[in-house]
Amino acid sequence: MHKKKILAFTTLAATLVTGAASVQAATLDDVKARGTLSCGVSTGLAGFSEKDANGNWSGLDVDVCRAVAAAVLGDADAVQYKPLTAKERFTALVSGEIDMLSRNTTWTHTRDTSLGINFAGTNYYDGASFMVMKNLGVKSATELDGANACIQAGTSTELAIADYFRQHGMSYKAVTFDTSDQTRQGFESGRCDFLTSDGSQLAALRVGLSNPSDAMILPEVISKEPLGPVVRQGDDQWFNIVKWSLNAMIEAEEQGVTSANADDKRENGNPANKRLLGTEGELGTNLGLNADWAYNIVKQVGNYGESFERNVGMDSPLELERGLNASWKDGGLMYAQPMR
């Protein structure tokens, strides 16, 4: 009894204080041994990672975490969500505190090459844009010379807007806020003339206004912001797992496989369906996973289209159009590398 206690205490101390020893080595083994996936998300971003009143996480970014958990552990709910601020997200990933990061992070050259991280794909094609009050009478971003801008601190938008205004020979005053909710309040109170953020966030912020119809989003998109999941460098197998988990969601939409018909397609579908869902081929084994890895993703999380509509699309309060994020078959940019 006594020895057992000491042993238990040592393991407790070991996991709490010194943590999982080998970060660089196999993340897959760590995750399997732990039984949960530790996934870095935003502290609260409507549609992407948000917590409801019962403490359940949901969102487009959260669904990527859930997909990876479903693929690796067979259970989409086996995720430990670690809410991170913009400043600490890369440190948390590199130091091994989290297994993967899915926190609306823009894929840029500098980040990909100098921070010791790898981007595993794009789950949302975004772009910074402007929102103004209709009564301002502004129809285009080029009329905003000398205006005040509400910006959320620590986003890549901060640099994009500086570039845009300099390029057009205009001036602006940046009023930066710490969280998106504060940015919205600042905009609503009239502290600034326009609010700039990624397009997806503008939609969320607009819904949050006390009178959404007073505001409009200007047509200009001033930057490219491809958002996607991130893993640390040096573990190629894990990199592949995250990359192909996302791809499986996109591919499932292309093939018309949904959480509702996955069981049926698994048995009676065409060869591509069967390969995806694991009744044929070796896709799972090549990743070091079970054959039903992608089936679990589609069954428990849904395909990309379902996830989109549920979290940010027409079934959600944000009501975003698919736009760039439609499947390539529908004229969008969502294109899965062939699953064969």
Partner: protein, 366 residues
């Protein structure tokens, strides 16, 4: 003989009792005084009715979703729906008894340190205080006691503020005591190290220490090890607190008359016997109000944890405010709620501190 002439009776005294007299003496004793009184009253009359109307008369009390908030006033439904998370974070509901148990234990230990019989009070309460953080981690985490593990990412809400503050100050206690001794030491190197340590942690903003905990500390550990974020912040808080408490104790040491040191020396006690048996109990006693004040400061500062994304109560509130099904802007209700919770706990602690101070003063006189 001259005729007796009574001195004329003095006029009746100005009324000195009753509400009118009281008002005259206390509210309208002079013209500037009356003006100030009227000004303050006007402020009350101007501000209070609309606040009462918003917060009570036309407020929304029933329902569970945002759609229930149809009236103009406050939407208390928001606070109600999120109240569990405001208090307990995402701690599983069936395990929440553990948090309540620890809160109860905390109160029990506080009460015990004031009410136990004198002869065992010091030893028993010191032991209880030092064991409390260990028991707390064991109970809240659960693995050690064979319960289900609740990982630290699920801890949160107002109870996290309480536990972070309490756990930091308790663990900082012995360290700060050593630092205070070091600062009084006659060994030059030990003294200067103590001074540098104390002044460093008192001289830098607590926010920068939190940033150290969140982005700098992970680089300090050997490659491949990683320490839970909450633990890292806890470590930083312990350092911060031991700097502050060391100064509190230094004041305490100075308040102990030098005769006590000399008496202890003269009966042949060793250094540590002298410090632990004679000086420490007196130091703790005189420092008690300041310790409480430091604790209140720390407790209020735990809200700064929001800046590094720890889900304490204000962070939880902001998460709630950004939820896409509660986007109607309930910031005011939420902040008012947090304000009331903090104010009532801090105010009661400062009342307690004042009571202890008064008790001590009577001791001195007796």
């Amino acid at each position: 003989m001259r005729e007796f002439q009574p001195v004329p009776a003095r006029p009746a005294p100005v009324k000195t009792v009753g509400p009118v007299a009281w008002a005259r003496a206390n509210l309208f004793s002079s013209i500037p005084n009356s003006m100030m009184t009227l000004f303050v009253m006007a402020l009350f009359v101007y501000f209070i009715p609309p606040i009462v109307d918003w917060a009570f008369l036309s407020a929304n009390w029933t329902g569970t979703t945002e759609d229930a908030c149809v009236r103009d006033g406050a939407c208390w439904v928001f606070v109600k729906a999120w109240s569990y998370q405001f208090f307990y974070g995402t701690y599983p509901e069936e395990e929440v008894w553990r948090i309540n148990l620890m809160l109860g234990l905390l109160v029990l230990v506080i009460a015990a340190s004031f009410t136990l019989p004198k002869h065992i009070r010091l030893k028993a309460s010191v032991a209880a205080w030092l064991l409390l953080p260990l028991v707390g981690i064991a109970v809240l985490d659960g693995r050690l006691l064979g319960l289900n593990q609740v990982t630290t990412d699920l801890w949160g809400g107002f109870t996290l503020n309480v536990f972070m503050a309490a756990a930091s100050i308790i663990v900082a206690f012995p360290f700060s005591f050593l630092w205070a001794l070091g600062r009084r030491s006659e060994m030059p190197f030990i003294r200067s190290v103590s001074i540098i340590f104390i002044e460093f942690f008192r001289g830098v903003p607590v926010l920068s220490l939190f940033f150290m905990g969140s982005v700098m500390l992970p680089l300090f550990f050997a490659e491949g090890t990683n320490v839970d974020k909450l633990i890292r912040v806890w470590i930083v808080l312990i350092f911060f607190m031991s700097g502050y408490m060391a100064e509190v104790f230094r004041g305490g040491f100075q308040a102990v008359p030098s005769g006590q040191y000399e008496a202890a020396d003269s009966i042949g006690l060793s250094y540590w016997q002298k410090i632990l048996l004679i000086i420490l109990p007196q130091v703790i006693k005189v420092s008690m109000p300041n310790i409480l004040a430091t604790f209140v400061m720390l407790f209020k500062n735990t809200t700064f944890l929001l800046i590094i994304g720890i889900p304490e109560v204000v962070q939880t509130l902001q998460t709630a405010l950004s939820n896409s099904y509660w986007l109607g802007g309930h910031a005011l209700e939420g902040y008012l709620f947090v304000f009331l919770v903090f104010w009532s706990s801090c105010f009661s602690m400062s009342l307690l501190a004042r009571r202890i101070e008064r008790q001590m003063n009577t001791d001195k006189r007796g």
